[in-house]
């Protein structure tokens, strides 16, 4: 009994030993941003991988255990994590990361949302009431999110205020310079007609000016039938597209099908940090996204 108690207290002490801020990042892009802003002051756990459909993550025991010890949760919000996060939060028994507390950070609260539905009806497919949650495909969205996240880090860990300020200032400067560079590189993409597999790119399109002429899902989240793909294909004669886009986590078959028949390239966009081998951090994610889109033009 004594032995068990001893081991038990070791476990308790062990988990509290590291002083770094315990961060639970829902998606890799927020883990990467937190890494940029908090450096070694944070110990970051990433809940989902870049090749996982963020809509369909399960409330796995490991996620509940990691949320139990988190001091800060950094997520997209806007209902993207609605299928698993409420359960993880409830089961975690951790009062400091519940909605409304400083430890609960939702990036979507700090950007202007696109595609906010005026009509909420499941006949429209998997729509999100707060707007399209895939905000991470527009580099400009990271500016207000980083600013807000910086404030939150300082609020939770005031001892390291000057460090966080420094990190944020450096990131902000470098990010703004990068946006300018990327926009210049991406200039040829403006008004290029594209097909998307899932309605996942309104922010990217809004930023770089790509024009969506067709979607391969008849309604968001619904699998296309062969007949539907056929109608998309015949529609391309009136509205030809230059490429078909899909996020790295998506099943490739629908895009490959269109790609073969319409003789246009199928382009995989990393969608998150790590979605492609090249997208190793936030900067590389956008570099790679633009390079892949430009390659699709050729």
């Amino acid at each position: 009994m004594k032995k068990i108690f001893f081991i038990f207290s070791l476990i308790l002490i062990g988990s509290n030993a590291h002083a770094a801020l315990n961060v639970f990042a829902c998606e890799p892009e927020w883990a990467a941003l937190t890494q940029q802003l908090a450096g070694d002051k944070a110990s970051i756990y990433t809940a989902t991988g870049p090749l996982q459909d963020p809509h369909q993550v399960q409330a796995r025991p490991s996620l509940i255990a990691k949320a139990r010890n988190a001091q800060l949760l950094v997520c997209t919000g806007a209902e993207l994590e609605i299928g698993w996060m409420p359960l993880v939060l409830r089961e975690s028994g951790n009062s400091s990361i519940q909605p409304g507390s400083p430890g609960h950070f939702e990036a979507a609260k700090f950007v202007s949302m696109l595609e906010v539905p005026t009509r909420l009806d499941r006949a429209e497919g998997d729509v999100h009431a707060a707007g399209n949650p895939h905000i991470q495909t527009d580099a400009r969205n990271f500016l207000p999110v980083a600013e807000a996240l910086n404030k939150r880090l300082i609020q939770l860990d005031p001892a390291n205020t000057s460090y966080y300020q420094q990190q944020y200032a450096a990131f902000d400067k470098q990010w703004r310079a990068s946006i300018t560079k990327w926009e210049k590189q991406a200039a040829p993409l403006k008004n290029i007609p594209v097909i998307v597999q899932h309605r996942g790119f309104p922010y990217l399109n809004n930023w770089l000016g790509l024009k969506v002429v067709a979607e391969l899902e008849p309604k968001p989240g619904m699998e296309p039938s062969a007949a539907y793909l056929g109608s998309v294909l015949s529609g391309l004669q009136q509205h030809p597209a230059r490429m078909v886009l899909r996020a790295a986590y998506q099943d490739g078959r629908p895009s490959e099908w269109i790609s073969e028949r319409a003789h246009i390239p199928a382009v995989i966009v990393p969608f998150s940090v790590g979605g492609t081998p090249q997208s190793t951090d936030l900067f590389a994610m956008f570099e790679d996204t633009i390079q892949r889109l430009l390659a699709g033009l050729k």
């Binding site: 369909q56 025991p61 993880v88 028994g93 951790n94 202007s112 595609e115 009431a129 699998e223």
Partner: protein
């Protein structure tokens, strides 16, 4: 409003950069002007979209989340479904329905009550009319330190499948062991305390005290605690592709005059007799589930394997033939059962599954007064093999075809077919692991 300020700041910064880089010639200036115009247009568009969601106010503002599950089956059976599994006539027998059959529609309502409490109610609408309270509980939301308390009527936290609502089951029915040992699902009126250890590995321990109103207990009027549950769960990931959870559970209760009808006996009374049992009931269980999906992407393909084993020891007094001779003597028996099942999502929206079920009715030790009346050893092992395929056009709808070879009753092998639909309307809460 604040996002608008961010946008203006971003544009100002963007322009100052652009100006430095580009202000070389008139053509570039023209391009900048165009950019400014477009950006302004974009701001206007976005501030209008951002203000689009109108916060509801008045009575409707605090509406709880409401969900309705519609469920129905078509069944083809070749044997009388009211006959219990061999050796389990004194246990519940969840009956399969034949032909077209409306299942239980489930109405769920949940909301935060205040910063401390959350309330959940699930009402089952019986197709024959009538409403029963499936769940009605309150749970704490801000205890912290890994503690959670639940009180009211809830599905007990024992085992793996017990807490899952019918619409989340992978087959149209529960495994035989759940049907016979838990009357499909153990629902408790009571209180549950759970604690999650502050470790990187998921370690959860919990205990429940309850009324013990459902099988194997029996509803009775008394102060204090009628049943107790202890459970522990451990789980983790192995890399990004594998995850698992394993658990042990213990359940203890007491039955008082638990009456069973139509129990076969040694004299071979036609239609069986009515017996009554009073005594202690203790159950131990083991459960595990393992899931695998390539790249951890469960949307495309995944495999889920799960199994559970329960063993129940009951000792007390059995009254044989309560309507006739009514002789009472001691009766001890250990029954057990297990199932193993696998579900494979072979392409998005399509899944297939295979389940094997087995029960052990055990050998009862019967007191001398009943030795010539009560069957102590049935000498038969009930088993069943089930296959299913289901298609889910969206996460809110599912259509299922299920085939079973049911050998749970001696000399009554049955090939069963079920077609099922499960549809969810309204709020769709997160599913448990």
């Amino acid at each position: 409003m604040s996002s608008n300020i961010y946008w203006r700041a971003a544009i100002a910064a963007f322009l100052s950069h652009s100006l430095n880089v580009l202000a070389a010639n008139d053509a570039d200036l023209q391009a900048i002007r165009e950019q400014v115009q477009q950006l302004e247009q974009r701001i206007n568009q976005q501030s209008s979209t951002a203000s689009a969601p109108v916060a509801s106010s008045g009575e409707g503002a605090f509406n709880p989340a409401i969900s309705l599950t519609l469920d129905g089956t078509y069944g083809t059976l070749h044997q009388d479904p009211t006959i219990a599994a061999t050796g389990f006539a004194m246990n519940p027998n969840p009956v399969h329905e034949q032909g077209f059959n409306l299942g239980e529609s489930e109405l769920g309502i949940s909301a935060n009550i205040d910063p401390q409490f959350r309330g959940v109610a699930t009402l089952a609408l019986d197709p024959a009319g009538g409403i029963s309270v499936e769940n009605a509980f309150v749970q704490t939301s801000s205890l912290g330190n890994g503690f959670n308390i639940k009180f009211g009527r809830y599905f007990s936290g024992l085992g793996y499948l017990n807490e899952q609502h019918a619409h989340a089951w992978d087959f149209a029915d529960q495994p035989l062991v759940y049907g016979t040992l838990w009357d499909t699902q153990l629902t408790e009126d009571g209180m549950q305390l759970k604690w999650l250890a502050p470790t990187d590995t998921f370690i959860e321990v919990g205990g429940e005290v309850g009324r013990g109103r459902g099988f194997p207990g029996s509803d009775r009027t008394k102060n204090g605690v009628g049943s107790g549950v202890l459970f522990a769960h451990v789980g983790d990931d192995i890399g990004i592709e594998h995850s698992w959870r394993a658990g042990v559970s213990l359940y203890q209760t007491r039955a008082e005059d638990r009456v069973s009808e139509g129990v076969p006996d040694l004299p071979g009374t036609p239609g069986g007799v009515s017996n009554s049992f009073s005594g202690d009931s203790r159950t131990a269980g083991l459960d595990f589930v393992w899931k695998y999906s390539p790249n951890g992407n469960t949307a495309n393909r995944y495999v889920k394997v799960q199994g559970e084993y329960f063993r129940r020891k009951e000792n007390g007094q059995l009254t044989y033939d309560t309507a006739g001779v009514s002789t009472t003597d001691s009766y001890d028996v250990t029954q057990s059962g297990w199932y193993l099942q696998g579900v494979y999502q072979f392409m998005p929206h399509w899944r297939s599954g295979l389940r094997y079920d087995q029960l052990d009715p055990g050998t009862a030790s019967v007191g001398t007064a009943n030795i010539a009346n009560v069957i102590s050893n049935y000498g038969y092992t009930p088993k069943r093999t089930t296959l299913m395929v289901d298609y889910s056009p969206s996460e809110f709808s599912r259509l299922r075809l299920q085939l079973a070879q049911d050998k749970s009753r001696q000399d009554m092998a049955d090939n069963q077919l079920f077609v099922q639909y499960i549809m969810s309307l309204g709020a769709h809460g997160a599913h448990s692991y």
